[in-house]
Symmetry: C2
Subunit: 299 residues, 2 copies
């Protein structure tokens, strides 16, 4: 019985069409010709039954409800295919090949570079890919090999190692403080420029718990790198990870007693990758590097 579904290659085309929005664009992305992508989609539609996947138009293909329901699975398939080529990029027992790391934007921009630089110095054959997104992207969907996570490990299939706790505090640039009014009590914040989140529900909630009577933010953005940059530029007061703030002598902690929060940090990997040497090497390096980072913040 070979009839267990269509040719997998058709799903790859489907995924590309969903992503690119038209047969022609998908053909370009895949390195195929436009008639071929069109035939692939036609073949899928024929194989799946009566209802069409797309409505054709001169402006491209618009996915039907069915196609929209299929899309996430196709993406999962694509992620697995990418993981396959990544894993095969070098022998399992070699300290070479591609390692794909998922982390938050702040960690990826402020902390990982030095860790990876050191690692590459000792392991010159490693190649890194960074997937920087705050929405903790799916290790389970194999979008990445390793991840730096701020939430406890959620899944048996994942191998997680805690590396400590990053303190969060309110900071401001000394130039800002020199020009602004007093900031000794939590209530003083009402007269200050406060940098915070815009719509990120999860982040807002977690900070609400810690900082119940926070005034309205003066600068709102969900991009934490922008928040950090704003604090450094002297715009106002914002939440900064202690170890990052302490590297910059111009940043001054404020309201140390009034605001306390922290992030528990984990390094996470797929259990499947346990035996792949380059992943293991990168895992260990991340554990060590992030541990050092966390300790630096405790000083």
């Amino acid at each position: 019985m070979g009839s267990s579904g269509p040719d997998w290659e058709l799903w790859r085309t489907f995924d590309a069409v969903m992503r690119e929005g038209s047969l022609s664009a998908a053909a370009r992305a895949l390195g195929l010709s436009q008639p071929t992508t069109g035939r692939h989609i036609a073949e899928l539609e024929a194989a799946l039954g009566a209802d069409a996947l797309f409505t054709r138009s001169a402006r491209g293909l618009q996915p039907t409800v069915t196609a929209q329901a299929l899309a996430p699975h196709a993406q999962a398939m694509a992620a697995a295919a990418a993981a396959l080529t990544r894993t095969a990029s070098a022998p399992t027992d070699a300290a070479a090949g591609v390692v794909r790391i998922s982390a938050s934007e702040v960690i990826g921009a402020e902390v990982l570079p030095s860790i990876l630089a050191a690692l590459r110095w000792s392991q010159p054959s490693l190649v890194f890919e960074l997937l920087l997104t705050n929405a903790s992207s799916d290790l389970l969907r194999r979008d990445a090999d390793l991840a730096v996570r701020m939430t406890p490990p959620q899944q048996k299939a994942l191998l997680a190692k805690p590396v400590g706790r990053i303190g969060l505090g309110l900071y401001a640039h000394r130039n800002y403080l020199a020009r602004s009014g007093p900031l000794a009590k939590l209530e003083d914040l009402a007269n200050h420029a406060v940098i915070g989140f815009d719509r990120d529900a999860a982040a807002l909630r977690s900070f609400h718990a810690e900082l119940a009577l926070l005034p309205d933010f003066t600068l709102r953005t969900d991009n934490q790198l922008a928040q950090l940059a704003a604090v450094r530029a002297g715009f106002g007061v914002g939440v900064v990870q202690d170890p990052i703030a302490q590297r910059d002598p111009t940043l001054v902690p404020v309201l140390r007693e009034a605001f306390v929060a922290h992030l528990d940090v984990w390094i996470v990997m797929h259990e499947d990758l346990r035996t792949t040497r380059r992943i293991r090497i990168a895992f260990d390096a991340l554990v060590e590097g992030m541990s050092a980072h966390v300790r630096a913040g405790e000083a």
Copy 2:
């Protein structure tokens, strides 16, 4: 750039070869010819670089370390492909098509049948697949659409609904009790036939916590259906879910005060499937049916 890895269809062949153990068997499973599968593997090996995936022998193909590292990703891909055909098996907005449900063996054999029977009565176009395994199989890997879980939801991408708590108790058949010695205190168990787990580490641990001084089991098996059958057959004393035991008047609860345990039950589904009507219908039916089951045990 279309050169992002080999033809996906090759991975399907790879997965089949890993599963079946030989080119010929894989060819049979896929409905292809043996030369074709051989060529697929050869093409993969050529595409991935120097090191081979399999060592050829007259008894089949033996996977190398690299191939073993690739296998789980290929399985993930296969699961996603299966989910695609399943999802496409009927229009998204139809109360028809295949719904794949993961649950423990006991739930699948003792509880689900009546729930699904009732559901099928009101929705005759639904088709069900049961994946009965105690190792909570991966919803995230898209092995199933829905799951009945005894552990709290671990993943953001999953939509989980608690349906209550199933009590666990020690039970024995009345015929057994009529012939055996007294059973009033926990210590009396030493003189009884006790049915329990064999090697299932997780299960053993969870029961050790509840029943510290449990004697050595007289009948050991990790198959919980066999445990249940043994209790029903009057072999001895075993742990049974209250709602299941109470349906059978010949089963008598014993040591009610000494042993108390419970399982929190959740119905879990992929967030991706939220908009697929048949999955939603089955989800709601499972929530209602399992809630009723749980309540039945509280009587």
